[in-house]
Symmetry: C2
Subunit: 124 residues, 2 copies
């Protein structure tokens, strides 16, 4: 498994049941190890520079079901079972890829399914 | 759309019909533009530092069907129609993610479907 110059490997997370791509994030070697040990997706947050157990705050954890590596061994694909609301996105959508491009005019529009209102979950 | 410090954005390519994740690669702004203009996936090859029309050599081009962007606007998801043999991987497999992790012993084994023998396609 190849990590980049920052010690990270890109991770694609897909819903094991529907095949929907839920999110894209990064892992370092330790977060990969923790993910396999706990069975719960544990990314490395580049912005916060810390381990990030997905759904730790919201309850929307992702349980690991299947793990794949690509031909160059520099990208991982996890198939997961989303728990809680089942929303991978902090904006409240099932998938982080909730905006679709209108190819004819170059604008993005919301195409995803909103499962919760983030303002009601992440209180300050 | 946010490009990284190298001017690149990560791209996930998914089969529009089956939902299978086919590959992971990168685009710069110009390859994104060419992809939309031609309707054919055109990546930026980091190793060769050049535009890379996927399938130009093998005939296994990928026609763009749907385009999505994630919540942080720093990753793209393309749903494509694979042409030719339908193999995204230069190793001859339908998907580049043709190796699956045996979580119990930490080894990867081949789980993907081989569609062609690369030695017969890429002659030297």
């Amino acid at each position: 498994m190849k990590f980049d110059e920052k010690g990270l490997i890109p991770v694609i997370t897909q819903d094991v049941n529907t095949g929907e791509v839920l999110m894209f994030a990064w892992m370092n070697q330790e977060s990969f190890k923790r993910t396999l040990e706990t069975g719960v997706m544990t990314y490395w947050s580049r912005s916060r520079q810390q381990f990030w157990v997905k759904g730790e705050t919201s309850g929307n954890i992702q349980e690991v079901r299947e793990v794949y590596i690509d031909c160059d061994a520099d990208c991982l694909l996890f198939k997961v079972e989303p728990k809680g609301h089942g929303a991978a996105c902090h904006d409240g959508y099932r998938s982080c890829f909730y905006r679709r491009l209108n190819i004819s005019d170059g604008t993005f529009y919301i195409s995803g399914q909103k499962l919760f209102d983030p303002e009601k979950i992440y209180k300050k």
